[in-house]
Amino acid sequence: MRYLLTYCAYLSIVFQLTSTVSAADTKRATANRTARNAVVGPRQLREGRDILWAAQLLEGRLGLTPPVQWSDILEGVMASYGKPLYFVQELDAKGSVSGLWIDTDEFGAVICRGTHPACTQSHVILHELAHVLIDLDEESAQNHTEEDVESFAFGLAHLLYTDRPSDEEAYFG
């Protein structure tokens, strides 16, 4: 826990710094990707960018059954990722970056701006989780656009919003 808090403080500094640099300047380490299973491969990314399509793909790949809870998505993503993910809110963030995913050898951290409204914060987390899923595959990681990632983030939100019909509806509705 002490290590985590120390590391979170470090991430906070990284977050502040990266707020002022462009995405192109961010160095990417690729060694961690090779041993993981692809959840969203390059072929899927080319197939379409529709919310419902993305939701359906993620539902199948992550083994989700409606009604999907946050915990189901987090479990599914972490199982694919193979490492724990921590979620950090940065209260003093400045600049244009609203979210950040940092991948380390031991764990990943998703940082979002604590001053954002709750719904935006949730969406930033979903966006970063979509990055995690897409970047599990080397080729798709190189080819994806932010638009692709947004489609998958909206797909995850769609799953969270989808209700399973109640038992009454299933039997009599």
Binding site: A9, L11, L52, S71, Q89, L91, Y171, F172
Partner: protein, 328 residues
């Protein structure tokens, strides 16, 4: 009149629930029950005169038997549905249903002088033992199915279970009244006047009970269909679009992708408006703020991961690690 109301509701349910019953096994028993129940009510002459229907069956009051066979089947299938809903295996087999049907169909064919359709078929022949046997066995079957359905419904303490229990209790009450009436009339206690005046005594509680059950099913069916329209989310989306249109122009409001459900579109709009507001470029009006707050309440996603706060922490030692990051 009450038969007609039940018939119309059942007809609507059969049509609306048809596609779902085809695709979903758990929805099928209740759908079959509504379909067979509708057929049973149709024999009262709601669409085609009962005499014409009976004539088609040979003008031997077979319509009465057909009505009762359909009603029993409807009650049996509905009990299966309630059992499934309550999570209890009823352990009943189709052969049980056939035994029930056979138990009163057999005495029906023992009835002497069945020719020529009459709405008072039972009343006019109640002195015959097969008629009494037929009537009481049928009513006992319905009463038994209703009683066991109440027991199943009570296992699930929900509003639906209560509605069904109330409806079925009235049916059980009507069955008891009918069995008492048939027995007294068969023994000729009270004379012809009693026999005639009390003939329809059980009808009111019976059809009121049926109407309550059917309204209960209709409430679930139509309630679900209305909920699926996501009217609240449509209205929310329209309001958020107005906010966007007001502050960023119509082009910005209309440029949002329209894929997904109304809920997805409301979510997209909410994010756009939140972004607009948090950037600090616009000052929302009081009414717009109220719309935004309502949208945030509606679209809240409970259970989001707990966030560790780091803003208050000072920088400490940097762990050695391999870093990769994406930013948005």
């Amino acid at each position: 009149m009450i038969e007609f109301a039940c018939f119309c509701l059942l007809l609507a349910l059969v049509v609306i629930r048809g596609p779902k019953a085809i695709s979903s096994g758990v929805a099928r028993p209740a759908w079959i029950a509504t379909g067979v129940g509708m057929l049973s009510l149709a024999t009262y002459g709601t669409i085609v005169p009962a005499s014409a229907l009976d004539e088609a069956l040979g003008d031997s009051n077979l319509l009465t038997l057909a009505r009762d066979l359909c009603a029993t089947s409807a009650f049996w299938f509905f009990r299966e549905a309630v059992g499934g809903y309550a999570g209890v295996a009823t352990r009943s087999k189709p052969s049980d249903l056939f035994s029930m049907l056979f138990s009163y169909a057999l005495p029906f064919f023992w009835i002497a002088d069945r020719n020529h359709f009459s709405v008072s078929f039972i009343e006019n022949r109640i002195d015959q033992l097969p008629v009494w046997l037929y009537g009481t066995t049928y009513m006992f079957t319905i009463g038994w199915l209703s009683y066991t359905t109440i027991r199943l419904a009570r296992k699930r303490r929900t509003r639906t279970g209560v509605v069904f229990s109330v409806g079925y209790t009235l049916v059980v009450l009507s069955c008891a009244i009918e069995i008492a009436y048939l027995s007294l009339a068969h023994l000729d206690i009270g004379g012809a006047e009693f026999r005639h005046s009390m003939y329809y005594l059980s009808e009111s509680p019976f059809f009121t009970g049926i109407l309550i059950i059917v309204v209960g099913i209709a409430g679930i069916t139509f309630g679900g269909r209305i909920r699926n329209l996501q009217l609240k989310h449509r209205a929310t989306q329209a309001r958020l679009k107005r906010i966007l249109g007001h502050h960023s122009g119509e082009a910005a409001a209309n440029s949002r992708p329209s894929a997904g459900t109304p809920r997805d579109r409301a979510y997209e709009m909410l994010l756009a408006v939140e972004s607009l507001e948090s950037e600090g470029h616009v000052a929302l009006q009081r009414r717009e703020k109220a719309w935004l707050s309502a949208a945030q309440r509606l679209m809240a996603l409970p259970g989001a991961p707990n966030l560790i706060e780091v803003g208050a922490l000072s920088a400490q030692s940097k762990p050695e690690t391999n870093l990769e990051s994406t930013e948005s």
